[in-house]
């Protein structure tokens, strides 16, 4: 990784300021936008880890260390509802995607606090299990890998619909052991039916407590897509500049050629699998620390400003926690809500579900 001043890449003297990785460049504005998203997602998750230990929440799982690539995904997506826009088949380490899309950290914290105001699941699901119809964010499931086999379905409708909507599916390296990963490769490349599926594997090297290389041949995951004719690449997922361009290339293939693309992003898992392992901080490379060093070295921001961003974000998150934990909890009877969609022609449940017939 090279910053602008140290880069070997030759650019005109009056080139816009920014950061470069190899021959890839990202403007200052974009870098600072990404940085802000990454910090918000990180501070939010670190506070959620504390909530899991303080009694303000119950269980934490999330994606600290994977903010760089996730933020790039969220910022480059077409946000909206319906097949003209991108669909998100996320797993539970994608908070930065949501922050980049515009989610207020308060909403994620509400889910962490399992209050009824949790807009994703009304206090039902674990944290980082997002769901938002208006943004095509489909309900995240704890079941490992199943998002892979739902993505071709949305992509099929998108391809028929026309336009350039993409189905973005994100999973971990360990989850690629599930057959659903291969199903996604097969269903996305049926002859004459290739589908615009952007497949993103976040390779943090671990599956729960087990290292990737102890269970998989350490060949690249992206190579498993090659026999299907799926173009792809490996990227340093801790480098926002490289990640930005990888996502840009992948989205371009999906949007314009209406066929799949795979990105394998090497990332870090900074707090282990979940609070079930105690969520201790690891010594893995930290994408935010690395990014900030580069931003400072390139003169795009100074330490004082970075500290201010951190302080302001911390205050925002603390206020969100203080608010969320005071909000309403589910009440008895709420368990029935939304079990079935109302159907006026159904003699048993014309309205919401009310229990056994």
């Amino acid at each position: 990784m090279d910053d602008q001043n140290a880069s070997s890449v030759k650019r005109p003297r009056n080139a816009p300021r920014g950061l470069a990785s190899a021959d890839q460049f990202l403007s200052t504005d974009r870098c600072l936008e990404l940085h802000r998203i990454m910090v918000r997602a990180r501070k939010m998750e670190e506070r959620m880890i504390k909530m899991s230990k303080s009694g303000e929440g119950i269980f934490w799982i999330g994606g600290p260390g994977e903010e760089a690539i996730n933020a790039c995904l969220g910022l480059q997506a077409k946000r909206g509802e319906g097949p003209a826009f991108d669909y998100f088949h996320l797993h539970y380490r994608c908070s930065a995607v949501m922050v980049a899309l515009g989610m207020e950290p308060l909403d994620s914290i509400r889910q962490m606090a399992n209050v009824v105001t949790d807009p994703f699941s009304r206090g039902r699901n674990f944290p980082s299990h997002f769901s938002r119809r208006a943004w095509n964010v489909l309900p995240v499931s704890s079941v490992i890998g199943i998002q892979w086999i739902k993505a071709p379905g949305t992509a099929l409708v998108q391809k028929r619909h026309g336009g350039d909507g993409v189905s973005i599916v994100v999973g971990g390296d360990a989850g690629t052991a599930e057959g659903d990963f291969q199903s996604c490769l097969i269903w996305s490349t049926r002859p004459q039916n290739e589908l615009p599926v952007l497949m993103v594997v976040l390779n943090n090297g671990g599956g729960i407590s087990t290292t990737h290389c102890s269970q998989h041949s350490c060949n690249n995951i992206v190579d498993r897509a090659k026999p299907f004719g799926i173009e792809g690449e490996i990227v340093d997922g801790n480098d926002p500049v490289a990640s930005w361009h990888a996502v840009e290339r992948g989205m371009k293939v999906c949007r314009t050629e209406r066929r799949p693309y795979m990105i394998e992003a090497n990332t870090s898992r900074l707090y282990g699998h979940s609070s079930s392992s105690g969520a201790p901080r690891t010594n893995d490379p930290d994408c935010i620390e690395l990014f900030e060093r580069r931003l400072i070295a390139a003169g795009l921001i100074d330490e004082s400003t970075i500290q201010t961003i951190h302080d302001q974000t911390r205050d925002e998150i603390e206020a969100a926690v203080a608010q969320a934990v005071r909000e309403a909890k589910p009440v008895p009877g709420d368990e029935h809500l939304f079990a079935y969609a109302p159907n006026p022609d159904d003699p048993t449940y014309p309205d919401d579900y009310t229990g056994l017939p």
Binding site: G82, P83, Y87, D118, P119, F120, S121, R122, R124, N125, H129, S131, R132, R133, L138, P139, S141, V143, I146, W148, I149, K150, A151, P152, G153, T154, A155, L156, V157, Q158, H161, S167, G179, D180, S183, I186, W187, R190, L337, F338, A339, Y340, A341, P342, N343, D345, D346, P347, T348, Y349, L356, P357
Partner: protein, 352 residues
């Protein structure tokens, strides 16, 4: 009169024309075969999928998320067991997502024994399916109900599983479907693909009419006073046959209830009949440990203990790993006419 398999085909065609069905898909569902039981021949939205049951369910979910109206097929329910976690997820999307996502998909699959199907073409699925909250589960036992339940399944905003009794798929009904030609040969000529080369074949669909059988409404197939028999699927016509024979032999009249919907089930119909007769037998062919009928049995005890004049009874398939190929295995694993008739006789003869 149409068979169940023809009724399903006609319903799917009606669904394509009038209810917004966008995809009918699964293994061998598209041309040239049009379904292993021919239920999808000639349909304009039918397509073949990889041999990947999880892929079929997952893709159907994706299509439904994006506004499509898919009907997917698992070729035999025996091959659907590896999709159970996906089925669970399909059933919980609305609940888990705070009401934001409906899941309007139909999964149809042949279920049960009766075709000498050996270990992996004889399973029943309804007991497992009944545990999938968020799904509606139906199982017709005649062509008209198959047509009407399929239309209701397609129109429903929830995931609906249509279990088709394998043994009855080619049996003709005794009532015309709305729009069905009266001449069976004409119907066959219009909608059954020819054997052999069928590349140029196109169906000539009759002008079918709407007929919705409400999900959750049972059908009282026989009305009587002596006892109640509750069944569905393959065993339902056997219960009717046994009731008719016992009526002729002994003058006993039974309420025979075709449940038609596994969930939501028509508790009102069951309940009213038990209050009337005081004697009840539940019959199905799924295996006997944690059988769906046991739930109805439990509820009968809970809510009608003092209405019963004798102990309630239940007749089910045996708790076995499978159904063997030799007919001796099948006949001794799942209820047959003789078993059902014996159970009904014992129910009536049980002294109050």
């Amino acid at each position: 009169m149409a068979t169940i398999v023809q009724a399903v085909r006609l319903a799917l065609h009606y669904g394509e024309e009038h209810l917004g069905v966008t995809d009918v898909f699964g293994e061998d569902v598209g041309p040239p075969l049009g379904g292993v039981f021919t239920a999808t021949q000639g349909l304009k939205t039918a397509w073949n999928s990889p041999l990947d049951e999880r892929g079929i369910i997952g893709t159907a979910m994706g299509i439904a998320y994006a506004g499509g109206r898919p009907v997917c097929e698992i070729q035999f329910c025996d091959y659907g067991f590896n999709t159970v976690d996906l089925l669970k997820v399909a059933g919980n999307q609305r609940w888990a997502g705070a009401g934001e996502f409906a899941m309007p998909l139909v999964m149809m699959t042949p279920s049960g024994s009766g075709i000498r199907g050996s270990l992996y073409h004889s399973h029943s699925f309804e007991s497992l399916a009944s545990r999938l909250a968020g799904w509606k589960i139906v199982m017709p036992s005649n062509p008209l109900d198959a047509y009407g339940l399929m239309l209701s399944a397609i129109a429903d905003p929830n995931p609906v599983m249509v279990l088709l009794p394998k043994a009855l798929l080619r049996q003709k009904g005794d009532l015309l479907l709305p729009g069905e030609p009266k001449d069976q040969d004409e119907l066959k000529d219009r909608i059954d693909a020819p054997v052999g080369d069928r590349i140029a074949w196109k169906p000539r669909w009759p002008e079918m009419q709407a007929h919705f059988v409400p999900i959750g409404k049972a059908s009282i197939v026989r009305e009587g006073e002596v006892a109640t028999v509750v069944s569905y699927g393959r065993t339902l016509p056997l219960c009717v046959q046994a009731a008719d024979q016992l009526a002729e032999e002994h003058g006993w009249s039974f309420d025979v209830i075709d449940l038609r919907s596994i969930f939501p089930y028509d508790w009102k119909a069951i309940s009213a009949s038990i209050e009337k007769t005081g004697r009840v037998l539940f019959v199905n062919e799924d295996t006997e440990v944690t059988n769906f009928g046991e739930h109805l049995f439990r509820r009968t005890i809970d809510e009608h203990f003092y209405d019963l004049t004798v102990r309630p009874r239940i007749l089910m398939g045996k708790h076995l790993p499978g159904i063997g190929l030799n007919q001796v295995y099948e006949q001794n694993s799942v209820p047959q006419l003789g078993n059902i008739k014996d159970a009904m006789r014992a129910l009536v003869e049980d002294p109050a």
